[in-house]
């Protein structure tokens, strides 16, 4: 592609720690966890029944995934001080990740016959809602890489900007909690009452919900309009495990290939990276796999690592976008949030320098975020300081 550079000029989140980037960041730095017993829908027959729920920005809106995404997109646009009409609608795109789309409306239809929300069910629906609401006429695509979906959505945005297909892309992810997904992970025996990433006593993940959206913009376009740049999206990578549909490759080979690809795309060596945002679900297999892959790429204990899934739960198709926003704040603030829920590091993960207990002051120029999902999907992003 060309020498165009993709930068981030706006961020927005609807998170279990609160609405807006400031509430999200403050909660992460304080080490808070939003995981609690589920209150929004009947969960008496669900065990475990704890998750990180969001206080709805628009409580009467039945399309929760779409509403989360739209609220986060509007915050990101406001943060970027960006007017879609001024950019030109055909030069603005939307790339979102999701694993569930409007699944709770599908559940409602099956349970009650209420067909009023069925247009919001398809996986592509949240992205089309955002596109229509903001007046975008450029590329609109939904990435579906399971729990790496929104990580790859940012990669799509980067590709479009670098190839000159768009000047601005709203990129991120959205997912919601409903019985469909909680019962599903429970029956796979992958869940626990609290998420304890990389802890010796970890038993599984706790689910979460919400949306995170960033404005990915062509650097020259951003400079012309005098935008504030939060960070540069230096590299993207993706790779398949090609081993198993639900279990990660024990050797972490797919995750390693995705991280190596992102670094190669960025033109950087591993020793340029100052911080790694791990996928860190809190399941025994995922965290052990990541310890192998991250340790192999960066060397034992060389780079600080955290996971935010103990704080906001595993937000599935939104997880990578939340972690992207966190990485951008780390680059700007020089502070790494602690891994909530981590108290005693598993010896199998001891090769990682895990940030836990309290936030760590750490000047960071380059951050890498890695995500992995069902069907062996892996994706990684490399961010640089503005």
């Amino acid at each position: 592609m060309s020498a165009r550079v993709a930068v981030i000029t706006g961020c927005g989140v609807v998170s279990p720690l609160g609405r807006g980037v400031a509430a999200f960041w403050d909660g992460l730095v304080a080490g808070r966890s939003a995981v609690a017993p589920i209150r929004r829908f009947p969960a008496a027959d669900l065990a475990p029944n704890a998750a990180a729920e969001v206080a709805d920005p628009t409580p009467d809106d039945p399309d929760r995934a779409g509403a989360f995404a739209l609220d986060a997109a509007r915050e990101a646009l406001a943060d970027a001080r960006l007017d879609v009409r001024a950019v030109g609608p055909a030069r603005v795109g939307v790339a979102l990740g999701t694993t569930l789309g409007g699944m709770q409306l599908f559940e409602r239809w099956i349970a009650t016959g209420d067909a009023s929300g069925l247009a919001c069910v398809p996986y592509y629906a949240p992205a089309t809602r955002v596109a229509r609401a903001v007046g975008c006429r450029g590329p609109v695509v939904t990435a579906q890489l399971a729990c790496a979906s929104s990580t790859h959505a940012l990669a799509l945005a980067s590709d479009w900007v670098r190839a000159g297909r768009a000047n601005v892309v709203l990129a991120g992810g959205t997912d919601l909690l409903c019985r469909f997904v909680v019962a599903g992970f429970n029956c796979l025996k992958a869940t626990a009452d609290r998420a304890r990433p990389f802890d010796a006593a970890r038993r599984g993940l706790a689910l979460g919900e919400g949306a995170a959206v960033v404005v990915v913009e062509d650097a020259e376009h951003a400079a012309r309009r005098g935008a504030t740049v939060h960070g540069r999206l230096l590299g993207v990578g993706a790779a398949g495990d090609a081993t198993h549909m639900t279990a990660p490759d024990r050797e972490g080979r797919g995750a390693l290939r995705a991280m190596e690809a992102a670094l190669a795309d960025a033109g950087l060596a591993p020793d340029a990276v100052d911080f790694v945002s791990a996928h860190g679900t809190g399941t025994p297999y995922n965290d052990a796999m990541e310890a192998v892959a991250i340790g192999r790429l960066f060397g034992p204990g060389r780079v600080p690592v955290n996971s935010i899934k103990g704080a906001i739960g595993h937000t599935l198709g939104a997880a990578g976008a939340f972690e992207a926003v966190m990485c951008l704040r780390v680059l700007a603030e020089g502070t790494i949030p602690p891994t909530a829920g981590l108290e005693s590091v598993d010896p199998a993960c001891a090769r990682l320098d895990l940030v836990h207990g309290v936030a760590r002051t750490h000047r960071t120029s380059v951050a890498l975020s890695t995500s992995s999902g069902f069907a062996g999907a892996n994706a990684a992003l490399v961010f640089g300081r503005a």
Binding site: M1, D45, L46, P89, A90, G93, V94, T99, M103, E107, W109, I110, A115, L118, A119, P122, Y123, Y124, A131, R132, C136, G138, P139, V140, V141, T142, A143, Q144, L145, H152, D159, W160, R162, A163, R165, R179, F180, A183, G184, C187, L188, V236, A238, A239, G240, D241, A242, T243, H244, M245, T246, R253, R257, A261, D265, G373, F374, A375, G376, A377
Partner: protein, 281 residues
């Protein structure tokens, strides 16, 4: 960076059971325990890899070969089956079904069967997802992130999808049918090095939203050609859902004169629109 993206193989499936009969036993065995859209991807993607001479089925995963699947509805039929069981109570939740309620299951299965360790991507953009997949694959190849990607579109139909379409009042045109069409896209360098036969070259593409007229002009501009250069222009068959775009591309390339430029335009009632420009070999 590469000097171009070429098409080195293709495969299409509409009659699934017939297509599966031609698959290697190891792939057929995988297909026996997965849902219909995954079976379609295994059959059409496998045929495309075979036609391109890239159908390795053992050994370590190949890091420079990957997959991009476009789908309008993905695992909808499994979602429907799983959700109807769950409606009877959490104890009825099926781990086997839930594990298949991810739209990228088909890409994962194809990757395992054919040892694809490069990018494993699934996209949806309504029924234009097949063209979106080809475009994204082209971008990744041009950026040097893979040497070859099997890319295309697939959707499976069945009772659950039909009930959703009827209940939502989404019936438009001919009823949807099972279909999958894939091509192998490869950097021109990689194809040349291994002496692969080339069916065409991807020149450019564009994606749009609520703007189906402009998308063709933008694709032509991306390709660096004008409307007068186009030898064959086709609109896709919407009943083939995400397979429609790649299917139209293969048909246009087969019928175009030698070196002729083809334009494929695709639009969905969701608002998604796409156009792709290629040159026949």
């Amino acid at each position: 960076m590469t000097d171009g993206v070429v098409i080195t193989g293709g495969g299409a499936v509409t009659a699934l059971e017939d297509a599966e009969a031609a698959l290697p036993e190891t792939v057929r065995a995988r297909g026996a325990r997965v849902e219909r859209v995954t079976r379609l991807v295994l059959a059409a993607g496998g045929a495309a890899l075979d036609a391109a001479g890239l159908a390795a089925m053992d050994g370590p995963a190949r890091p420079r070969v990957g997959v991009v699947v476009g789908t309008a509805f993905g695992c909808f039929l499994t979602n429907d089956a799983y959700a109807r069981r769950l409606d009877m109570g959490a104890a009825a939740a099926s781990p086997r079904l839930f594990a298949a309620t991810v739209s990228n299951a088909a890409a994962g299965e194809l990757g395992i069967a054919y040892r694809l360790g490069g990018p494993a991507v699934t996209l949806t953009a309504g029924t234009v997802a097949g063209i979106a997949a080809l475009g994204h694959a082209s971008d990744m190849l041009r950026a040097g992130r893979a040497d070859a990607l099997v890319a295309g579109g697939a959707d499976a139909t069945g009772l659950g999808l039909s009930m959703w379409i009827a209940a939502g009042g989404f019936v438009r045109g001919a009823p949807p049918t099972d279909a999958a069409t894939f091509v192998v896209l490869e950097t021109a360098d990689a194809a040349r090095k291994r002496g692969a036969s080339v069916a065409g070259t991807i020149l450019g593409y564009a994606l749009g939203f609520d703007d189906r007229e402009d998308v063709a002009a933008r694709a032509l501009a991306d390709a660096g050609v004008g409307p007068g250069d186009v030898a064959c222009s086709v609109r896709t068959a919407s009943h083939m859902l995400a397979a429609g775009g790649p299917h139209a591309l293969r048909g246009a390339l087969a019928n175009a004169p030698r070196g002729g430029v083809v334009l494929v335009v695709d639009a969905c009632t969701s608002g998604h629109a796409a156009a792709l420009v290629a040159r026949a070999a």
